[in-house]
Subunit: 214 residues, 2 copies
DNA sequence: CCAAATTTGTGAAATAATTCTCATAAGTTA
DNA sequence: TAACTTATGAGAATTATTTCACAAATTTGG
């Protein structure tokens, strides 16, 4: 139902939509059923017309004179983002972080099922982590043929991230979440998102060091 | 030495500077000593003049006809970001994620020392994690008076994040890294950065679902 | 049932960020 | 040392994003 009307949607809009969902879910947990763009904006730390414009890319979800029904709006946004379904994912790099993610229940809860764990270390292959047997990274293609995963999660050391990405791309994945602290190069049709909280610490460091530039 | 010349610096520039450092460090590890903006841009997936403009906010670091000396440029950028020093941090919320971060060696390596661990759960108080004794969150102010931390890391459940933030602000912290999946409200002088990799998974989901809008 | 009060959705205006272009400086070679 | 090559730095042009302002839609109260 929420079909986007217009051509190009700013990346920043997508990031904010994720924030809106987060805040709306917390509001819902606290019992709020209806909210207008003004207080929602305050909670999200953005401008109210920003919210309305962001939503307008996908349709009309509000009621004039009333606001937005929280439950409805969550459904509309998650549908717009495509997260109202199950996404099958595989993880490459079963180190400390990889294991922590494999054991993280939230993934399944949010619809991102980890259905495969891969590593190139012979000592790790065969090990069982969170109900999954660790498989050699070279077998990615064959395994994905079976389990139909679409998203790959990279948790290798930086120097092995590009190789992991190559294997994932070859196996037909079209989205990569890269936790390794290095940039990877992939074909145009593959989407990459980087997670590195040191980047955020750097931003804090800068902002604290230069309070005037805020 | 790298003193920023101009008034306002885009947030996006700061984020990119962190990426440049990451890529430059990997280049350095591989033995590259000099690089020009063009190949650096390719490795960072940005435009070359973007890099030159970003750097220009802070000074002139390149040599015309040559490029940038990798080691030098890393030093210049880290200095501009203020990460060429030690930052003392405290962590609030000693759950799974909190413990994982406390045990993460990279923090110290990158100059972000975790010097205090706090939790409001009586069962956790007194426990030792990675050489730190877990202290009651109410004692944040007194402890920060002693250890002089400037950055707080929140790893509580979402419903306790705001309270943790309040305690941190009261204790005089001026930067917060929030891993809890909820937005927090703080005074203007306090900087907040949010880390939530589900937001990135949402972005992947959207981009895979709407390949045309890329 | 109408008038007042809300609050959305949207085009226009204002701001901000990115990319282009080129003069200038540094290095290299003969 | 002069001509040639390379690549930076900075202003101009372009493109993108955010904010404003208001008409249209809806509810509420008398």
């Amino acid at each position: 139902m929420p079909q986007q009307k217009s051509e190009h949607i700013p990346r920043a809009t997508i990031q904010r939509l994720a924030v809106y969902v987060q805040v709306l879910e917390n509001l819902q947990r606290e019992g709020t059923e209806v909210i207008s763009s003004e207080p929602l904006a305050k909670a999200c730390n953005v401008n109210a017309s920003q919210i309305r414009k962001d939503l307008a890319y996908f349709g009309e979800f509000g009621v004039r004179g009333v606001g937005y029904y929280v439950k409805n709006l969550i459904a509309s946004i998650t549908s717009a983002l495509g997260v109202d379904r199950e996404w099958r994912t595989v993880l490459v790099g079963v180190g400390n972080l990889g294991k922590a993610l494999l054991n993280h229940k939230e993934f399944r809860l949010r619809g991102f099922n980890i259905v495969g764990a891969f590593d190139c270390d012979p000592f790790k292959i065969g090990e069982e982590v969170s109900g999954l047997e660790v498989v050699c990274t070279k077998r990615l293609r064959e395994m994905i043929g079976d389990n139909g995963a679409e998203i790959g999660i990279i948790t290798t050391p930086p120097e092995r991230a590009q190789r992991a990405a190559n294997h994932l791309v070859e196996a037909g994945i079209n989205g990569i979440l890269n936790f390794a602290p290095s940039r990877i190069t992939v074909p145009d049709h593959v989407n990459v998102e980087y997670v590195d909280f040191f980047h955020h610490l750097y931003a804090l460091s800068f902002n604290i060091t230069h309070p005037n530039t805020k």
